[in-house]
């Protein structure tokens, strides 16, 4: 392939008049519903996940739309307070358990990790498929709950509200989350085993792409943290069913025990959600600056540091709940420590741009959006980790804004970045560049209009989970809803043009981004077994010089063939 002469893009496509999608690939290998439903191929399972989480994302998104519509007016105008409570509860549960937690690991992670390490599949393909089925069962239970009246405890299932004071479908919802949790555990387990045991020859730990490191760190959290949520949900279900439990103060139990057990998972959960996204950003920033990630070792270790420290900070969600002042101090200190590795990453990515050769394709635009918005979200996390200011800001819209900045402005943007980046590899097709760049900008603008006013609302004292509010908060709420409508457009556009590209997009070829990484050495879409021969890794990660030599060698070979 000849190096591109167009200056402002690195996209290198094969000659469209002659290029074709390879006939034999993982999508065409076998046909029929059963070949998909009983597959062991990590790429097919990733595709199944992609379709499922997109489905749940739009349900969660519709619920978000309902929330913002209701909050246009100070009174409850669109729905009763009970309904509103159900809407925000289901929005949280679906978005967290059925979208954010599986998003990058189950789709991009499943698809890419074996290829990135030079393996033919994950270590345990059947467990992988089981993982997807558990996810679907959990998801179907969630949909059933929604259809049959919903649940209104908040996604945090706070006892004793959830055990004794609501009459909605708490047990079914807890069961849905429980089952989906095991899906997460098995995915993480699979990743850890694969990364430890199935790296190709020459693939040492420090030659791994940083995407693999991030998913590895997230997998540690999935594997060690999720079971604690599982047992906590079991205890809630038992307490609700039998009226007796360890969380009921009238019987000698302690509702604060629930808080500790719940947040022991749910704090690491946020790192489960963000770390894989950070892995995507490493890959994207590197490729579109044509440079090795600055401070590879620091970024790799910071991922593991976030995972380890992430287990020690859970009670920063409980600063006002009557824990002892000294306990609050310790958790606040540890929270400061866990904030530092994220800062390290942001600076390392920024310095990857230094003396690079930067282009602004869609994945890079989303990555820039991530870096800015995650910085804001992460810094506001420090506001909340500081005990004194947390008192004023906690349980208000400041918290809502904080976590939406890191999860939506951060994680979701990273997910979209990754989807655009690896779309050519996954489908063999390129998406249309102009409209996708437009969608990225629309998303960024819409996001800021939606969630920045919520910081101010929080500072003003507006509590979260309020169906009605004092009238002086209305203007900012209207502003936020207006932004949400723009944001919605930004999310709908990719669905449309990505689907369009499946039939009409340009043929991508093996490596349209001229990226390093073993996955780009295979055809697009890849073969079921990824590689016909196990590769040998004889160069460092992000080795653009090696890539140049590769390309030169290929050009040379083609010339020789042509000249015969």
């Amino acid at each position: 392939m000849s190096p591109t002469t167009a200056v402002s893009t690195i996209v290198t496509l094969p000659d469209q008049s002659t290029a074709r999608i390879p006939k034999m690939n993982f999508l065409t290998k076998e046909n029929g519903l059963l070949s998909w439903l009983l597959t062991g191929d990590h790429k097919r399972i990733a595709t199944l996940y992609l379709i499922s989480i997109t489905f749940f994302f739009f349900i969660g998104g519709a619920l978000a739309g309902l929330i913002r519509l209701e909050l246009l007016t100070p009174q409850t105008s669109l729905m009763a307070a009970d309904t509103y409570n159900k809407v925000f509860t289901m929005h949280g549960i679906i978005m967290i358990f059925f979208f954010l937690v599986p998003s990058v690991p189950a789709t991009l992670g499943n698809f890419l990790i074996p290829m990135m390490i030079g393996a033919k599949d994950l270590a345990l393909p059947k467990v992988n498929l089981l993982s997807w089925y558990l996810y679907i069962i959990g998801g179907c239970m969630g949909v059933y709950v929604m259809a049959s009246g919903g649940v209104d405890t908040g996604w945090t299932f706070t006892t004793p509200l959830s055990t004794h004071y609501v009459n909605t479908h708490v047990i079914s919802t807890a069961m849905a989350a429980f089952i989906a949790g095991f899906s997460s555990v098995f995915t993480g387990l699979n990743f850890i085993v694969t990364i430890h045991k199935m790296r190709c020859p020459g693939m040492t730990w420090f030659r791994l792409p940083l995407f693999v490191w991030s998913n590895y760190a997230a997998s540690i959290l999935m594997v060690l943290g999720t079971p604690v949520l599982a047992i906590t949900l079991v205890l809630v279900m038992l307490e609700r069913a039998f009226g007796i439990g360890v969380f009921d103060p009238t019987k000698g139990g302690d509702p604060i025990l629930f808080q500790h057990l719940f947040w022991f998972y749910s704090h690491p959960a946020v790192y489960i959600m963000i770390l894989p996204g950070m892995g995507v950003i490493s890959e994207v920033v590197s490729t579109f600056s044509r440079k090795r990630v600055f401070g590879y070792t620091a970024v790799a270790f910071s991922s593991v540091a976030i995972a380890v420290f992430g287990f020690f900070v859970w009670a920063h969600h409980m600063f006002i709940m009557g824990i002892s002042n000294y306990a609050a101090l310790i958790f606040s200190l540890l929270t400061m420590l866990v904030a530092v590795p994220s800062a390290i990453k942001i600076f390392n990515w920024a310095f990857t741009l230094y003396k690079g050769s930067i282009t602004f394709e869609t994945p890079m635009l989303y990555a820039f959006g991530f870096m800015g918005l995650f910085t804001i979200g992460g810094l506001t996390g420090v506001f909340l980790g500081t005990t004194g200011t947390d008192i004023h800001l906690t349980e208000t819209y400041f918290i809502v804004a904080h976590f939406h900045f890191v999860m939506v402005g951060g994680m979701l943007m990273a997910f979209l970045s990754g989807m655009h980046f690896w779309w050519p590899k996954w489908t063999g097709r390129m998406y249309p560049e102009k409209i996708s760049q437009f969608a990225a900008v629309v998303t960024f603008i819409g996001f800021n209009f939606t969630f920045f006013p919520q910081f101010i609302l929080g500072m003003l004292g507006m509590p979260r989970r309020y169906a009605s509010y004092p009238p002086e908060f209305q203007a900012l709420n209207v502003f936020s809803t207006a932004g949400a409508s723009i944001l919605g457009v930004g999310y709908l556009l990719p669905i449309i043009y990505l689907t369009w590209s499946l039939k009409y997009g340009a043929v991508a070829g093996n490596n349209p981004w001229q990226a390093t990484g073993l996955e780009w050495q295979t055809q697009s879409p890849p073969l079921t077994e990824n590689f016909t021969e196990i590769p040998v890794m004889d160069h460092e990660a992000y080795d653009y010089e090696w890539l140049e030599k590769q390309d030169l060698a290929k050009m040379q070979a083609e010339k020789e063939v042509a000249s015969v």
Binding site: L124, L224, V228, G253, L527, E533, D538
Partner: protein, 259 residues
């Protein structure tokens, strides 16, 4: 070289032609999955996976143990008196049964490694019998709890703790003093944890027994005595783990302040 190739610098496949998609089915045992380069890699990988899974199980039970430790610290006397309601006889019996089953399970693994099909079958069946015995004894104990109204919930009764002499068997052995009513009420927490912990453990036993039955049929067909022992080995790990959990449960639930 065409599109889907290894690295241009002549990367060597890890094993000869065994794993190329296009070649005829190569020289690897039929139980080796195609994404593994060798039987050793497969065995090593699945073994590691099982250990990691057991780690998640430790975290799972950890929530229960944490709740137990906190409640026991707060309501020690109630927990002591409530634990006197458990039968040391049956508890020890169950412990012996499970340890025996771990022994027979270890022998099963040995039999598989030694490629002795009959021996494997015998030991697997013995393990199954012991497992079922354990569940049977558990059933007896739980039934007894039901009869004495010690199952937490609507029918729970604190009578045995308010007035220990109304329960002659237990009183003869321990001569507990009557508990004040608010302390007696906390025994319900003990039993909640008792049923949650032993129930969760029993659930793991049931799953294990299900897999054991499956294994017995497969063992009969000779699946584990041709060199492919990883399934039996990994299941053995799981079984031993369930046994160890029981030993902790026995110590914590049955043996509070025994002299």
């Amino acid at each position: 070289m065409s599109d889907s190739t290894a690295i241009a610098n002549g990367g060597q496949a890890l094993s000869n032609s065994a794993n190329t998609a296009n070649s005829a089915h190569g020289e690897h045992p039929p139980y080796q999955r195609h994404h593994f380069a060798s039987v050793e890699q497969q065995a090593d990988t699945t073994n590691f996976a099982m250990w990691l899974f057991l780690l998640t199980e430790i975290m799972f039970f950890g929530g229960l143990f944490t709740s137990y430790l906190i409640m026991r610290n707060w309501y020690y006397q109630a927990f002591v008196d409530a634990s006197h309601q458990l039968s040391i006889f049956w508890g020890t019996g169950n412990t012996v049964v499970l340890i025996a089953s771990s022994f027979t399970m270890a022998m099963s693994v040995w039999s598989a490694e030694m490629k002795r099909r009959k021996s494997l079958l015998i030991y697997l069946c013995l393990t199954l019998v012991f497992g079922l015995t354990f569940l049977g004894i558990k059933g007896i104990e739980w039934h007894e709890k039901w009869e004495k109204h010690h199952i937490p919930g609507a029918h729970y009764s604190v009578q045995s703790f308010l007035n220990p002499q109304s329960d002659p068997e237990v009183y003869k052995e321990y001569q507990d003093k009557p508990l004040p009513p608010d302390a007696a009420q906390k025994t319900e927490e003990y039993f909640f944890l008792y049923f949650a912990m032993t129930g969760m453990h029993a659930l793991h036993m049931v799953i294990g027994i299900g897999i054991l039955v499956f294994m017995i049929f497969r063992a009969k067909a000779g699946a584990y005595t041709t060199g492919h022992v990883t399934f039996v080995e990994n299941f053995g790990l799981y079984w031993h783990f369930v046994d160890i959990i029981w030993i902790y449960l026995f110590a914590l639930l049955y043996l509070i302040s025994r002299h």
